[in-house]
């Protein structure tokens, strides 16, 4: 055991799907267990944080961190693992870009609390209780961590060596990362372990995309019986393929559903939504302002389409869409 390099897997503000994704490498999980001494993986193993604290700095060869940073505990665990690790990989869309929960950055904490603990139809709260950082219950003190004002991608809080995007990262990308780490064949620090080009480059439907693509009427996904062989944009349906990094295996396209961007922006782009929006706007067809307006009638939710996984890493990250302050 002592000779094997150490590995840690940890979740911060995540959903557990990235941990499942790691198990999805199937029988190769046995190869992983043979190659590494896994010293932390809360979903599967009983090691506690104090085991990590007792290690030398840099003693862990590889640490995979999934989930975003939403509270002080996430930050503390992230910093501890950074200190003890040679390589830290931001694993999955939440760690890379904040993920879907990053859309919460457009709302305040007070707005969330008001609904969850006061207004939701099933709430029974005659005492008007609300979770408190410190509570004395029957003479005993109970504490809760405090939330940050917003969701942060991991790289905004600690130094990250590599990014492996996806919601979740697909098995072949995880295997390829494992092989590269084991053989030392690694790209420059800060690289994203996926192709730099757009999903469209890999998409079979790309051949059906007309040379001059135009959209006369934006359609929502339930409104069309999508032709499984034809480019979604050519059918008037928002597909994030042109702005999204390739490497997912086109799994959503394969079930006849357009891309929503979980692999994040293509290489060299920071704000995925802004990039897409400028490209998308040029596709809208209409001679008059009114016609163009009508064309984008179906585009009801630009944030939910264009920034679904990347709000927290975008220029929108501190914007609030209500007057709540929190």
């Amino acid at each position: 055991m002592a000779d094997k390099p150490k590995m840690a897997v940890c979740w911060l503000g995540g959903c557990g799907g990235c941990d499942e994704a790691l198990v999805d490498i199937n029988e190769d999980i046995l190869v992983l267990a043979a190659a590494f001494d896994v010293i932390l993986w809360p979903v599967a193993l009983d090691y506690k944080y104090h085991h990590v604290e007792s290690l030398e700095d840099g003693e862990i060869a590889l640490t995979l961190i999934n989930g975003s940073v939403r509270n002080s505990e996430h930050e503390e665990v992230g910093r501890l693992l950074r200190k003890k690790s040679k390589l830290v990989v931001a694993f999955g869309a939440c760690a890379c870009f904040g993920g879907t929960p990053g859309m919460a950055n457009l709302r305040g904490k007070e707005d969330i609390f008001q609904w969850v603990y006061r207004d939701a139809p099933t709430v029974v709260n005659p005492n008007r209780n609300i979770p408190e950082p410190i509570t004395i219950a029957h003479g005993n003190q109970l504490t809760l961590p405090e939330f940050y004002e917003q969701v942060y991608p991991l790289g905004h809080v600690i130094d990250v060596d590599y990014y492996l995007p996806g919601c979740p990262p697909p098995p072949d990308r995880i295997r390829s990362m494992g092989r590269r780490v084991m053989s030392g064949d690694l790209p420059p620090k800060g690289a994203t372990l996926a192709p730099t080009r757009a999903l469209c480059d890999r998409c079979e439907r790309n051949q059906t995309k007309p040379d001059r693509l135009t959209i006369e009427d934006v359609k929502r996904i339930h409104e069309v019986e999508a032709d499984p062989g034809k480019c979604f944009l050519a059918q008037g349906v928002v597909c994030m393929g042109p702005a999204t990094r390739a490497g997912c295996g086109e799994s959503c396209i394969n079930i006849n559903i357009p891309c929503r961007g979980c692999f994040g922006p293509v290489g060299g782009v920071d704000d995925m939504g802004a990039k897409y929006l400028s490209a998308f706007a040029s596709l809208i067809k209409g001679k008059t302002e009114e016609e163009r307006k009508k064309a984008i009638d179906g585009l009801e939710d630009p944030v939910g389409y264009f920034y679904r996984f990347t709000t927290a890493s975008s220029l929108l990250r501190k914007k609030r869409d209500t007057s709540t302050k929190a």
Partner: protein
């Protein structure tokens, strides 16, 4: 002077959790709490999203049980657009649910909860995990565990793109049909899953039921909890994971409520406490009676043991036989929390049999997968039995179908207060005179592990964390000692 014990993080469950155990002057347990310390705000950041996009967003509530969220959401969206799925679309959705039951129940038995039994509660913590289990049951069996998980998750992939984040589900249908050759291949997976389910049940019988020490533990009062139970049942009052009516039985097993899931808000209340981010569900008509069990409780449980107690039987023949055997050993209702494990394995057998039933239907590869005859209503309440219990998604929209209201009630939330009580009882039963060992602390963890809690789900409201850490404090709250395990 009193002390507090903390365990952090709690392990072999989905998400983060924290348990505080307070000891009195004699070193016995005075009180114990399981706290949910995180929140993510799905109910608010989903506002403004187009309803039909919801099935693609809510799987991020939980990546361990994303299929039930995807499915409850899809059903809610059916109602919003006033449309029922076609026969084939419904078969495909049920196939996804059954495949999810098989893979998710085995993740729990082999990775999360089962190692406590297969390896033993006092086993070296470095071996009390899936790798230890592999060492014990052998590589051939391990490969079968991986195989059954892979094949059932491949079914989900076929239908919904990514097993950890399903993207399928449209109002009135599904985006992709099943090809005939795929249907044939699924039949083979079903047969494999049924054989594996029989093996897993036998392993449970050999390991747990045949071991007097374990059986005593299962039957002990320390791991018992008298509550109400809630679950979906079909027209025959049998277990159904996709649809049905909600039935509630009291601690004596008598039916006290039977209602359509759309009326959930009349029956379910959510109590707010200042020491946890989770809302504590209870039977609204009885009122909140606090964290108590027995005849005077208003708490109910959900999940495999609840389904066993609520339903009159299983929907498939082999699972029904196993259910009858469990009834002959434990009776009904069974309040033994560790019996969740047993009920879970019987359900995995039912799900495997359902896979076969569904795959045997030639209509599974039918072409009619969308009903687009929308009759917009703007309101939808979708309910399924997630592996961990009753799951309800309630959405309302404006006239463009953009979300204006979201209320979610998830399995681990129903179980949150009972889980806290189970942890407290286990702590009181095992920790005496200030003596705390790693094995005893693990027995406390076993009390919540039986529920297969999904703290990601439980904390959908904001960004959730529930670490199990044992901190020992005096009455003034000064930390005297932090107990962690080696």
């Amino acid at each position: 002077m009193g002390k507090t014990i903390t365990i952090n993080p709690i392990t072999r469950l989905e998400g983060h959790g924290k348990i505080e155990i307070f000891l009195n002057d004699r070193g016995d347990v005075d009180d114990a709490y399981m706290q949910v310390t995180e929140l993510r705000g799905f109910e608010r950041f989903c506002l403004g999203r187009p309803a039909e996009e919801m099935p693609r967003i809510v799987p991020n509530i939980c990546g361990v049980c994303p299929t039930p969220h995807n499915m409850a959401s899809t059903k809610a969206v059916d109602y919003i657009y006033g449309v029922a799925p076609t026969y084939t679309a419904k078969l495909i959705r049920r196939l996804q649910v059954a495949a999810n039951y098989v893979e998710d129940h085995y993740i729990h038995f082999f990775f999360l909860g089962g190692p406590d039994f297969v390896m033993g509660p006092d086993a070296n913590p470095a071996e009390r995990n899936i790798l230890g289990v592999i060492g014990k049951v052998g590589l051939d069996i391990a490969k079968q565990v991986i195989e059954v998980r892979k094949r059932t998750r491949d079914i989900i992939k076929l239908i919904a793109s990514k097993p950890a984040h399903p993207e399928g589900g449209l109002p009135g249908g599904v985006p992709r049909g099943i090809k005939e050759e795929e249907r044939i291949a699924i039949m083979d997976t079903a047969t494999f899953s049924i054989e594996f389910a029989k093996f897993a049940l036998q392993l449970f019988k050999d390991t747990v039921l045949a071991n007097k020490g374990y059986l005593d533990l299962v039957l002990s009062d320390t791991y018992g909890l008298k509550t109400y139970y809630m679950a979906l049942v079909d027209d025959n009052y049998h277990q159904n994971y996709y649809e049905g009516m909600l039935r509630v039985v009291d601690p004596a097993g008598k039916e006290v409520a039977f209602f359509h899931p759309r009326d959930y808000a009349d029956y379910i209340g959510e109590w707010v406490e200042p020491w946890t981010y989770i809302r504590l569900t209870h039977l609204r008509k009885l009122g909140w009676k606090g964290m108590v069990e027995g005849d005077n409780t208003s708490l109910y449980r959900v999940g495999p043991l609840a389904r066993y107690n609520v339903a009159n039987g299983m929907s498939t023949p082999l699972a029904q036989k196993e259910y009858e055997y469990m009834v002959s050993v434990l009776g009904k209702p069974a309040h033994h929390t560790l019996a969740y494990h047993w009920a879970r394995l019987i359900e995995a057998l039912q799900a495997a049999e359902e896979l076969r039933q569904i795959a045997n239907d030639p209509m599974l590869s039918g072409k009619d997968i969308r009903n687009m005859n929308f009759q917009f209503t703007g309101k939808g309440i979708g309910c399924v039995e997630a592996c961990r219990g009753v799951l309800i998604h309630h959405y309302e929209t404006d006239d463009k179908g953009l979300i204006t209201k979201v209320n979610l009630i998830v399995a681990t939330q129903h179980n949150a207060a009972p889980m806290g009580l189970s942890v407290k009882k286990a702590a009181q039963g095992f920790i005496k005179g200030g003596n705390v060992s790693e094995g005893l602390l693990n027995r406390v963890e076993m009390a919540f592990r039986a529920y297969d809690p999904c703290l990601g789900c439980a904390t959908h409201v904001a960004a959730g964390k529930m670490p199990l850490e044992v901190t020992i404090r005096d009455r003034e709250g000064v930390v005297l000692e932090k107990l962690t395990r080696d």
